[in-house]
Symmetry: C2
């Protein structure tokens, strides 16, 4: 057994069984060792940002980490943006970063770089296995660390000689950490404050937005506590049978207008809401003036337990409100908008679907119809780094091969990690990709006004518009082996989407707006 064998065997022993990889020379021992451990599924991505985004999608759905295999500093670098999103989603991921042999580092060969510094901003744990006998233990430590709580990406650096030299490697089992229930005092304080408040709200985020947490939060709604979620949530149920909390608005002034008069804000699994960006003369904090704030459940604690305890303390009913199923009767027709697309999606999306949402300005149209659609789950863009919608869908589909996965993308978003289409084709994943093709960074046209930057002139417009030439996503998809169709109106989309739901396997729909 060499170090690479020890690594993979330890991963598998700890239920890490998917590897999203883009290897290079320094990772060849790891690649070879995969043949000895068929329980580890290797998935090739032709760009590391696809691999890290896929690991995020996998981790959100599986509740357990996937690993990535990345090629030294530059390979990790390509994965940084989606690891930023994963850090903000608190998703467990074990990044394995190949490095030069320990004795070779000092020569500063062309691919050498300061990996330890590069991984620091997006790793909740990072170590280098500088001798082969440390590999198994550090791998187990890495897996355990990735769970947090609240969890996140970890970085295990694997020098080439630690991979190729003989290693002691009896698989080491990592202890999965247990989330503690919040302190009784926090529950009592929250209950007292609610009773004293005129207009209390609870803001849930992170683990509190999983099915169980949402169910308990609904009980609070039933006793007059308005439930809000963070704007961008790693994973949450939506549609019939689920409670539909309000969502914190993206634009700060709208959020504050909606929260007017709120005198108590309680946090469960999240912290103070803040504006996504700063703007001249607009507030950063999205808490109304004079509003009292309290933390019921810290991010690393057991959100559902905390919400249940608070609901009990308030004498809430055992069951809160839920959404009834209400699908649009008529097929949408005529001019295509995000709302007609949302209606078609709601009409045909099967129960249990997973929606990976990187649709930016088109998202509201989908959410509207989704609220009363068949039960499904939504994975959102937690860190603001667009380009996650396609990779996230790969990971979700690998984690849940029996569920339909929808990947919703702005055209600008999709281009960041367009190589993901090839992996969907190779792995024959059951993913339907929708591209909202509006040929512009529409959000930036809005933000341009909001930041007070003024009217866009010719130079500015060159950086906001995606046309000239318009991208043909159908051609790109076919180039990567994916069936694809473009839809110019609502009727065409309805037909194409219904067809995609009726079959298994990957396909792409370009929805022209």
């Amino acid at each position: 057994m060499n170090g690479a064998d020890a690594l993979i065997q330890t991963l598998v022993a700890n239920e890490v069984t998917a590897c999203f990889a883009n290897p290079g020379t320094s990772e060849m021992q790891f690649v070879a060792a995969l043949d000895g451990v068929p329980a580890m599924r290797p998935v090739l991505c032709q760009f590391e940002g696809v691999a890290t985004g896929a690991a995020d999608g996998y981790g959100r759905i599986a509740g357990a980490p996937a690993c990535t295999l990345l090629h030294l500093g530059p390979g990790y670098g390509n994965g940084v943006a989606n690891l930023h999103n994963a850090r903000r989603a608190f998703t467990p991921i074990v990044n394995v970063i190949g490095d030069h042999a320990t004795y070779h580092r000092r020569y500063d060969a062309p691919l050498n770089s300061d990996i330890a510094t590069l991984v620091a901003p997006n790793s909740i744990w990072a170590k280098s296995a500088d001798t082969p006998d440390t590999v198994a233990n550090l791998t187990a430590e890495a897996v355990a660390a990735s769970y947090g709580p609240p969890g996140g990406p970890v970085s295990l650096i694997l020098p080439a000689d630690s991979a190729w030299l003989p290693a002691q490697g009896a698989p080491v089992i990592a202890q999965k950490p247990v989330r503690p229930a919040p302190a009784g005092a926090a529950v009592d304080a929250a209950a007292r404050a609610i009773k004293a408040a005129k207009k209390p709200v609870v803001l849930i985020g992170g683990q509190a937005c999983l099915a169980e947490g949402v169910r308990e939060a609904a009980r609070l709604q039933a006793v007059g506590v308005t439930v809000y979620t963070d704007t961008f949530i790693a994973r949450t149920p939506r549609g019939a049978g689920s409670f539909a909390p309000r969502k914190m608005q993206y634009f700060g002034e709208m959020a504050l207008a909606e929260l007017e008069g709120v005198d108590l804000m309680i946090y469960a699994g999240t912290s103070m809401p803040v504006a996504f960006f700063a703007y001249p003369n607009r507030p950063s904090m999205l808490v109304p003036e004079g509003c009292e704030t309290l933390t019921l459940v810290e991010r690393g604690e057991d959100s559902a337990a905390g919400l249940a305890a608070l609901a009990d303390a308030l004498g809430a009913p055992k069951q809160g409100p839920t959404q009834a199923l209400a699908l649009p009767d008529a097929a949408p027709s005529g001019k295509q908008t995000a709302y007609t697309i949302g209606a078609s999606i709601a009409r045909h999306m099967p129960e249990g679907a997973i929606v990976c949402d990187d649709s930016v300005t088109s998202g509201a149209g989908i959410a509207a119809a989704g609220a009363t659609a068949r039960p499904h789950e939504v994975l959102a863009l937690t860190g603001g780094a667009i380009g996650i919608g396609l990779p996230l869908a790969i990971g979700a589909a690998v984690a849940a091969p029996d569920r339909k996965v929808l990947s919703l993308n702005g055209d600008g978003s999709a281009m960041y990690t367009i190589q993901a289409l090839w992996t969907m084709a190779r792995e024959n994943l059951d993913v339907t990709v929708v591209i909202f093709a509006n040929y512009t960074y529409r959000i930036l046209n809005i933000e341009m006004m909001r930041t007070g930057a003024g009217e866009a002139g010719p130079s500015a417009r060159k950086l906001l518009d995606l046309g000239d030439p318009n991208i043909d996503f159908v051609a790109i998809a076919k180039g990567m082996g994916l069936p694809a169709v473009a839809c110019a109106d609502a009727d065409a989309f309805e037909t194409a989407f219904a067809g995609a739901m009726a079959q298994r396997g990957p396909m792409l729909i370009e929805a022209r707006l």
Copy 2:
């Protein structure tokens, strides 16, 4: 004038006139300010790795920095791999990284991250302009720092409020540093050592590989000093009229076999040659045992001056050997290989062409015929992070609009930054893209054996092969607005390439191997 105006005006005053950009909300003031300074050319890239690679290509050809415009930590992250290459090429680049407003940072909004740490490994200078009045001065400081010598990427972090607030901004002119000539003692020592040596070589790299340095190095060759270059060179002339030094072989054992008996190695503009990767039981240092080593010119010194002084001290003739023009007479025909492609390229490539080389295992075939082709220049992959061939060509074409640019790419390499095709189409750049489509990471199949990792089984092969499905680059190119053609044999490539050279504007040729 606000901070964004001050920034752009200072850049332009310092001859930074191209901006490769992928902006977001925090960069809207910069985008708006571009309209006031038409001397700055904005080039939109739909992925930041394209922007940084393009800035590298621009800097190598212009000899002056371009700027990039990147969106917080994740935007910079996407650009890391090609900035790693640029650092290894010592290319001046001014990265402008938008950040949250200074007062907003503390709220840790979703896009917040530790930018200062993230940029450190690939920045030779990094500062944040935390007040608007510092912007102009720091911009000038950034430009100056990017020149080194020996130069490299710098990172100027621009918080949104520093961009939008009023700023003092009389453009500040940066001092361009002058490279000092090497000390006379270093020249004398080298001359003495050469006279005493049996088999002396000089290894040139970096600035020594520009036209003037190569010319002076040829004079050393004329007096019996064998001239080698580093394996991967940022920029160097090739073809008729240039001296053709030997190149350090990529594989260490081959390099050492070729260097057998060498008893003196003199460095000019570079340092000790090392193996690209470590392998079990193979050397890291590529200097023969017992060989004396001396540094004639440090990387930051004036290489041509040092080489000229050494040639004078040795009484070398004023002119060394150069290559005669020798083009393949016959059009290649039949089965297509890297050598038939190289022959077609040599036959039709015009004088002054710029070859951006990310062709990995296909490169040798091109280099063979290129050595006696019409005079051209080659930009190589300096840092080993594949995915630079397409972006590099964008930058070279923007810097030298009157020269034909060739972008040579392995299929695996091309996929990393495939979004670059769209920018070539939008800017109507005179770039001919060649994709060597062998449907595998061929280099990794070779490296798998060399690392002793053994025969690839089914899992390993899944990570080495790029087929299943084969990528259709013609479809992808058309999807991004580029004319494209696929060639299955040498005859078809000859026709397609001759056609591409006879016209202006971007096109792609998929060469099936």
